[in-house]
């Protein structure tokens, strides 16, 4: 099972942070041990016993105090000296143009690849081993992109694009989520980063660029018709369906190829797709997709159609 463990870094960027954490962690742990040692020593050694008079009234010692002001200062200088180069390793300056644009929406992620023109949602594919430049934007409120194993977190600020690097050493699935509170369903604004061998990634891009699979059965034809005549088309895009180009909600051209639904709340299976269409508000209350009163037959048709969009 994939995890989001920051203690298991999987890229040079995350590793720069992890290494800094280990070194400074040791320094800070030493401070803890020394000071706690002093307290514990005092507890056991200077316990009051009955009948003892008050001890020597020592009110301070200038030399000692200056010393223990200077020592923390030196420690701080050391920590800062470690911090500065690690900042550049974990977050090098951005290049002029972005490889991926990740836009936060309440409560899902949109990912655009400007060079190829691919648009997808909640699942970012990257070629393993190659640092990608990512621009973070937001369509509404603040969001925050956080995939702990791969890179630093960074806020998606409306009106102020931010930049991070994204890289994975090895192919694999890396998970993360929005870490800046963004409203009702902040909890289910999860993200998956899929790192693949470069050839596989290229293949994925080619697949994503293809227009949507045209319906082949009568059920899926009716499903497409439902997509167009119900209000789905007002928010969702499907490449190849005339008029379906809204960017308010996730692009559905290849929705069936994705691992999850509802930004991480359900596995993407045909039955889950049907359950989602039946009542998104039951599954993810507060999501911006409203409930529709679709009949059982309509639900079958629509979910069958969407499940063909691989």
């Amino acid at each position: 099972m994939s995890s989001s463990n920051a203690l298991d870094p999987q890229s040079p960027l995350a590793r720069a942070i992890y290494d800094l954490g280990i070194v400074s962690g040791i320094i800070l742990a030493l401070i803890f041990v020394i000071v706690t040692g002093g307290v514990v020593y005092a507890i056991f050694h200077f316990r009051a016993r009955a009948g003892e008079p008050d001890p020597n009234q020592i009110a301070g010692n200038r030399k000692v105090e200056v010393t223990w002001t200077v020592i923390p200062f030196l420690i701080v200088v050391l920590l800062f000296a470690l911090t500065l180069p690690a900042m550049n390793r974990a977050d090098p300056p951005p290049p002029p143009s972005a490889d991926v644009v990740v836009t936060g929406h309440q409560f899902w992620w949109q990912a655009d690849y400007p060079a190829s023109g691919v648009t997808t949602a909640n699942e970012i594919h990257i070629p393993a081993g190659k640092p990608l430049s990512v621009r973070l934007e937001s369509k509404d409120v603040l969001h925050e992109f956080w995939v702990p194993k791969l890179t630093r977190k960074m806020t998606n600020v409306p009106g102020q694009p931010n930049h991070i690097w994204l890289q994975a050493d090895k192919p694999g699935t890396y998970i993360g989520q929005c870490s800046e509170f963004c409203g009702t369903q902040h909890a289910w604004m999860r993200i998956v980063v899929v790192a693949e061998e470069p050839t596989q990634f290229e293949q994925w891009q080619q697949t994503q660029l293809r227009p949507a699979q045209a319906p082949t059965s009568s059920a899926t034809t009716k499903g497409l018709e439902l997509f167009r005549t119900s209000t789905c088309i007002n928010c969702h895009a499907i490449n190849g369906v005339p008029g379906a180009n809204s960017r308010v909600a996730p692009d559905l051209t290849h929705v069936a190829s994705r691992r999850q639904l509802g930004a991480g709340i359900l596995e993407n299976t045909p039955s889950n797709m049907r359950a989602w269409l039946k009542s998104p508000q039951h599954i993810k209350p507060g999501a911006l997709m409203p409930d529709y009163s679709l009949t059982d037959e309509q639900l079958d048709q629509l979910s069958e159609y969407l499940s063909t969009l691989r």
Binding site: S3, F46, N56, A59, S179, T184
Partner: protein, 743 residues
């Protein structure tokens, strides 16, 4: 022990039904600092229970993955209310209560400098608390987090009134806090007993004196931000709405420029308590009084320049990240010095392990951990991982609970005998202590690791990822111990209040002046004060053979500053911060012009004319003061009337300008320039109006024959305010009207 004492009177009231109605009113209308202190603390206790139950519900929801116990919005409201309540309605009031009770006693004063202002400050707390909680009935509590990040807190994303109630409530609470800080500063500077020089102040008093300056600097910043947020929400302004050119990041700067000093506002009183308790229970003076005192000043100064470490992930850019990393690391030094001083005080002592000391020892260790994880947030790349995760939640709960609440619990055990005349039960106190130590650490130690394995804060539920389930369950289990601890505490307070051991004047054999009077103290606090030659007057009395060295020269014969003028100067200091934020915000948006009306459309000549009226009114007021000093009543009244007339002309001019702008279709909602312009000049106009009301009151008083003696420090104090309002207009005039000329 006898006399008309506070708690004793309350006890009478409980026992004697005939007196009940009278005493009930007496408590509601009190201006006695000791009663106000008790009211502060009891109010805090009520809200502590509410916010504690909110925390309990949240931990129950998070105990297992994919839980459906609470709806998402319910959870989001709970954490917003929990944070807001704990900070503004629990920790601040309870520490203000302690300061209110102990500080005047420690300096040998009869009361605070402004008893009625003190009552006002207290009554802001229940008012703010009721306003905040009224939101539940008015469409729902706010669900935007306690720092209400824009634009989520703006109308398009939080359309119900929860945020409005939240903002108004905090504005009220902030105003109360500012009045409290003014009072503390005036009390310490102006009401010290003979011999109690600034260098001899007990550390609790000294640290809270410093803290009052942080309050004065920080809370007005928040109030300015809240005013702007409310203008956005109520008048369709655009300050924090990026869609109309506003800035989401500006809200963060304003909020944390208040928010980080606020952390020290909460923590410094706790430091003060610990600095009193550890020496008494180690039977030694504090190690390095000067270092502890000076490090508090260093913290106060540095705390104003570290807010950006809350924003390392918002994209401030490398130079600002580095600046705030340095400043945040520097503030670790004075804080670390304090921990070492407390530890050194214990070394070589004869430590009595009674309940107050137990809490202080736990405080020391837990605060050390909080400080160490705090430094890790200043190490910027580590913050890039741990910010907004449960690691951060654990860190600030180690500060807020592990340090502050533990110190307050120690303080309750320590000062309850003084307030009630009876000791708290030592054995129940130990139950509270151990349950709290176990519960607190069970709940929060593991949360550091939860953050490191990727759990962000403020999620109402989570998928069943590796380790998340058991870690959350463990964290939730600690809450039951903390709840039990709180119940034992309340039980202890109730039982000991009626049946506790009689305390006597000085049950702990302590050394500061609050222990030199009866428990509880009489209404006027002291019948006679011991001689004050150093920092521990009662030590000197108990040990005539080996008294403390005399600290500094005796300045008993030096006249202390006038409390009216001191108070108004403190108030002006806070107002300067308020206008500073409004002016900086105006300049920010001036530098990023939006389409639509701009400053070039303003009528400069006309405004200059009215400005001259306002500036001249400062001169005429000064003439009025001179006339007062020379007891020329007619001249004084004449110049005062002239002053009021000039102020009124200025206001009429401003109203006229607004009218013209409204006629040409320029309103608050027109564009960002209009929003910023009306906000800045509007608040200045409001201050002129309030100044006019004050001057009219003085005119009426003088007309009635007040100030006949020629002494009128209150009159002069009002003059300070009036001059200040004029000086603010110099800045506004330059910023709004003159600056565009240079383009």
């Amino acid at each position: 022990m006898n006399g008309p004492t506070t708690i004793a009177m309350f006890q009478d009231a409980v026992l004697d039904p005939a007196k009940r109605a009278h005493y009930r009113l007496a408590w509601l209308s009190t201006v006695d600092h000791k009663r106000i202190a008790v009211l502060y603390m009891l109010t805090a206790l009520v809200f502590f229970v509410i916010a504690g139950v909110e925390a309990l519900f949240m931990r129950l929801q998070l105990a297992i993955p994919n839980n459906h116990f609470l709806a998402p919005d319910t959870f989001n409201q709970l954490f917003t209310m929990h944070g807001t309540t704990m900070i503004f309605l629990v920790v601040m009031p309870v520490t203000f209560g302690f300061v209110n009770y102990v500080l005047p006693l420690q300096i040998g004063a009869r009361d605070m400098a402004f008893p009625r202002l003190n009552a006002f400050g207290f009554w802001c707390v229940p008012l703010g608390g009721i306003l905040l909680h009224f939101s539940v009935l008015a469409g729902g509590a706010p669900a935007v987090g306690w720092f209400a990040y824009a634009p989520l807190s703006e109308t398009p994303y939080a359309g119900w009134q929860g945020v409005d109630y939240w903002a108004i409530a905090i504005f009220v609470l902030g105003t109360g806090s500012i009045s409290f800080a003014i009072n503390v500063i005036a009390t310490v500077l102006c009401l010290r007993a003979p011999g109690m020089t600034m260098r001899r102040l007990p550390l609790f008093t000294w640290i809270n004196f410093v803290n009052a300056f942080i309050i004065l600097a920080a809370l007005p910043v928040l109030n300015a931000g809240l005013a702007m947020l409310l203008i956005d929400r109520q008048l369709e302004g655009h300050f924090f709405l990026p869609a109309h050119g506003g800035s989401a990041v500006l809200w963060q700067h304003i909020f944390w420029a208040f928010g980080h000093p606020e952390v020290y506002i909460l923590a410094l009183p706790a430091f003060g308590m610990v600095s009193e308790i550890i020496p008494v229970f180690s039977r030694k003076p504090i190690f390095g009084y000067e270092f502890v005192a000076a490090s508090s000043v260093a913290i106060a100064v540095l705390s104003m320049g570290v807010w950006g470490h809350h924003m390392f992930t918002v994209g401030m850019g490398r130079p600002l990240d580095v600046f705030f990393a340095i400043s945040s690391m520097l503030i670790a030094i004075p804080t670390g010095v304090k921990v070492l001083n407390w530890t050194a005080t214990m070394l070589g002592g004869r430590i009595r392990f009674q309940v107050p000391m137990l809490f202080c020892i736990a405080f020391l260790i837990q605060f050390l951990i909080a400080g160490i994880t705090g430094i890790s947030h200043a190490i910027v790349p580590l913050d890039w991982q741990t910010k907004n995760s449960y690691f951060l939640v654990a860190h600030f709960h180690f500060v807020a609970v592990g340090a502050i609440v533990f110190a307050v619990l120690g303080g309750i055990q320590y000062w309850f005998p003084k307030m009630s005349g009876r000791m708290l039960s030592e054995s129940l106190g130990k139950w509270t202590f151990w349950l709290m130590v176990i519960g607190f650490n069970l709940t929060f130690v593991i949360q550091h690791f939860l953050g490191l394995v990727g759990m962000p804060r403020r999620i109402y539920t989570y998928p069943d990822l590796p380790n998340w389930g058991w870690m959350n369950m463990l964290s939730t289990s600690g809450v039951f111990f903390m709840s039990a601890s709180a119940l034992v505490l309340v039980w202890n307070l109730a039982v000991s209040f009626f049946r506790g051991k009689i305390a006597g004047d000085n049950p702990w054999d302590a050394w500061t002046l609050e222990w030199a009077t009866s428990s509880p103290p009489p209404h006027e606090n002291f019948y006679a004060l011991p001689p004050i030659r150093g920092r521990r007057p009662l030590w000197d009395i108990a040990h005539p053979d080996r008294p403390d060295t005399i600290v500094g020269p005796n300045t008993a014969d030096v006249t202390l500053p006038d409390h009216n003028k001191t108070g108004i100067l403190a108030f002006i200091f806070s107002e300067a911060g308020f206008f500073g934020i409004l002016i900086l915000s105006y300049l920010y948006f001036y530098a990023h012009p939006q389409p639509g009306p701009g400053p070039h459309g303003l009528d400069l000549k006309r405004t200059l004319l009215f400005s001259v009226c306002l500036f001249v009114s400062s001169f005429t007021f000064w003439r009025s003061e001179i006339a007062l000093r020379h007891k020329r009543r007619g001249s004084m009244l004449g110049w005062l009337i002239f002053t009021i007339a000039l102020g009124a002309v200025f206001l009429v001019g401003q109203v006229g300008e607004y009218w013209k702008l409204f006629q040409s279709g320029v309103e608050v909602s027109t564009n960002l320039f209009a929003t910023a312009f009306f906000t800045l000049t509007g608040f200045h106009g409001l201050h002129v109006f309030i100044g006019l009301v004050a001057l009219l009151i003085f005119l009426w008083l003088a007309w009635q024959g007040d100030f006949a003696s020629g002494h009128g420090s209150a009159f002069e104090a009002a003059g300070y305010y009036w001059h200040f309002v004029d000086i603010v207009w110099v800045f506004v005039l330059f910023t709004v009207y003159i600056l565009p000329l240079f383009q």
